[in-house]
């Protein structure tokens, strides 16, 4: 049965109707999606076994299913450090991948990503302000103040863009231009803070902007997972309208799809995903841009597959970056944000070069 379906999908069987051949293609995509999910799972397990402390695969698996068998130190390493660390990589990658995919669709721009609208830069400004001037709010713990401030600034930048778009028109070009303006404004303000801040504060800001999974805790993980858990079903509810939008905005409008409203809803969702992800782990570049392209090259643009595949591709890239960040310099865990672009770019180029048609 399976072999028959895969042969049909190859497209050499004129005896089969187009519908049958398309169903075979869907079957193959489901298999690929499951394969992608399993690869992410394998990378998470590899992530759990990687780190300065020696921890074998069997110890890790045994420790997960039977925590009593671990020593106190092992239990702390597995349950308080590596598991939240590895799962945060998956969640953050998923958030950024999904946000990037939705943004590329509604902005009709293959270069769109959570950074395009300046959301990430706004979050960084929020964090930089909290690090530099948080002392004035001594009653709020620093580890809560920084992510809260990052998230508030990310949300505020989105609202600002929404307001500007509402007053001056919500066209794709206008939105992207507003985003670029926000991006440069935020970056200038971050540089200004760095210029006036002390050397210690500058170091903290720079470290935060590099992005690190070391800040992961179960509480933060639960918040990121909840946001992804809420946003993903809403995104999947819009798969037909988003897919329709890919064949043209005019066509989508002619079918009664309120494109401007859809775009605003999606951008708000993408900002929430980005804001939460960046608030807890710092700035992670590249994932939101590359993961959707990887998904598109393999799964096409039927959003039933494209959206979950983008989230999974983001998770895969982040998990892989997490593993690499721990093994690249023995005994040292590099900030994961440093690694994401370094591993993402070769993978991205390999995919593009394997498809001569390009990515747009």
């Amino acid at each position: 049965m399976n072999t028959k379906i895969l042969n049909i999908a190859a497209g050499d069987s004129p005896a089969f109707s187009v519908a049958e051949r398309y169903r075979a293609l869907l079957y193959r995509r489901w298999l690929l999606l499951i394969g992608l999910g399993l690869t992410v799972l394998a990378l998470v397990i590899m992530d759990l076994t990687t780190g300065p402390a020696a921890f074998g695969l069997l110890d890790v698996l045994g420790g997960i299913f039977n925590p009593q068998q671990l020593s106190k130190a092992q239990s702390v390493i597995l349950w308080d450090i590596r598991l939240p660390y590895a799962l945060m990589a998956v969640m953050v990658g998923g958030c950024l991948g999904l946000a990037g995919a939705e943004m590329q669709t509604v902005l009709n721009n293959p270069l769109a990503s959570p950074f395009t609208l300046g959301v990430a830069s706004a979050a960084c400004l929020g964090a930089a302000l909290a690090i530099a001037f948080g002392g004035a709010l001594a009653f709020v713990p620093q580890n809560l103040l920084v992510p809260a401030s990052a998230f508030i600034f990310a949300a505020a930048s989105t609202l600002l863009i929404q307001l500007l778009a509402r007053f001056y028109g919500a066209g794709v070009g206008t939105l992207v231009l507003f985003g670029i303006a926000v991006y440069f404004t935020m970056n200038s303000l971050i540089w200004l803070i760095q210029y006036v801040a002390s050397a210690d504060t500058v170091q903290q800001i720079v470290f935060w902007t590099m992005g690190s999974l070391a800040r992961a805790t179960w509480g933060k993980l639960a918040i990121v997972a909840a946001v992804l858990g809420v946003c993903l079903p809403f995104a999947l509810r819009s798969v037909w309208t988003l897919t329709t939008l890919r064949s043209g905005e005019d066509h989508a409008r002619s079918l009664g799809i309120a494109v401007d409203r859809l775009r605003m809803r999606v951008l708000l969702r993408a900002s929430l995903l980005t804001g939460v992800a960046i608030a807890f782990v710092g700035e992670i570049g590249f994932i939101g841009l590359v993961a959707p392209h990887m998904a598109r090259l393999v799964f096409g643009e039927d959003h039933r597959f494209y959206l979950p595949a983008s989230a999974l591709a983001g998770a895969l890239l982040m998990s892989f970056a997490s593993v690499v960040s721990k093994v690249i310099v023995p005994g040292v865990v590099l900030p994961v944000g440093v690694v994401t672009a370094l591993i993402g770019i070769p993978l991205f180029l390999a995919l593009i070069l394997s498809r001569r048609g390009g990515i747009a």
């Binding site: 051949r21 037909w240 329709t244 064949s247 079918l255 096409g300 039927d302």
Partner: protein
């Protein structure tokens, strides 16, 4: 029964009026209507207004139903609009481009029905072989055929097609217009097509509506309405309307009214001759 009537339609972009009190006398069910007129005269605006994509005042009757006051969700079930822009060049498969729009519009339909209808319209248009190809691999003409399929698959009562044959070669232009004529005749649907090829319009369309200066300057059965005077007013051309050997009216253009400045005149006035510019 009257199929399509337009009464005192007014459309403006901001404060600039584009269509003023446009009225079209009743067009019979099953008619293929050619919307003619010079560039930038408001043909696309009129089609968008009828489709509910451009704010308009006035009345548009489709059978006994007034379209402009109808809720958008209800109107899109009756009206199919093909924009002038071609479907985007993306990695979406043709099959997916058709199924997604159809499903977005009719979530109540079973998958088998959607697949049957999509396969049917692709066969009808003769592009079934494109079904599993990404839009990015198609030519402009092929994408225009896909756009047409996206409209036809919904079987609307009113088809509004903005230059549906602009990217097609002569063979496909004939095929599309023959098909539209058949569909209208067989289903009673009305199709309004903005078109620049006057001879194709006269050959296939039952009715012509000629737009100029914000309103219709002529509207009626194609063969009876077309005239040299009308063409001069609408397009600024000198032309004759003659009958071909098969009896179809054809437009033979003689010249544009705007007199072309001769090269000798241009040189005398110290300007570059037109030929040199070209």
């Amino acid at each position: 029964m009257t199929a399509l009537t337009i009464e005192q339609l007014n459309v403006a972009y901001g404060k600039k009026p584009v269509l003023r009190d446009l009225t079209m006398e009743p067009v019979a069910p099953g008619s293929l209507v050619a919307l003619l007129g010079a560039n930038a005269v408001g043909k696309s605006t009129l089609l968008k207004s009828l489709a509910g994509l451009q704010h308009a005042r006035g009345k548009v009757w489709l059978n006994d139903t007034e379209l402009l006051s109808m809720p958008g969700a209800e109107r899109v079930q009756k009206v199919g609009y093909l924009p002038q822009s071609l479907p985007q060049s993306t990695s979406l498969l043709v099959w997916e481009a058709l199924c997604s729009g159809y499903r977005a519009l009719r979530p109540d339909l079973a998958s088998a029905v959607v697949e049957r209808d999509v396969q049917g319209v692709l066969e009808q248009l003769g592009i079934l072989d494109l079904a599993l190809r990404p839009l990015s691999t198609l030519s402009g003409g092929q994408r225009q055929m896909v756009g047409l399929a996206q409209v036809l698959v919904r079987r609307p009562e009113l088809l509004l097609l903005d230059e549906p044959t602009s990217a097609l070669d002569m063979r496909w232009q004939l095929r599309v217009l023959e098909l539209l004529h058949e569909i209208c005749r067989d289903t009673g649907a009305v199709a309004v097509i903005a078109i620049h090829d006057l001879n194709l319009a006269l050959r296939f369309c039952d009715w012509i509506a000629v737009l100029a200066q914000g309103g219709l300057i002529a509207s009626g059965p194609a063969r009876e309405t077309i005239s040299a005077e009308l063409l001069r007013t609408a397009f600024g051309i000198e032309a004759r309307v003659e009958n071909c050997s098969l009896g179809w009216p054809i437009v033979v253009t003689d010249s544009a009214q705007m007199r072309r400045e001769s090269n000798a005149d241009a040189i005398r006035k110290n300007r570059r001759p037109l030929d040199a510019i070209a």
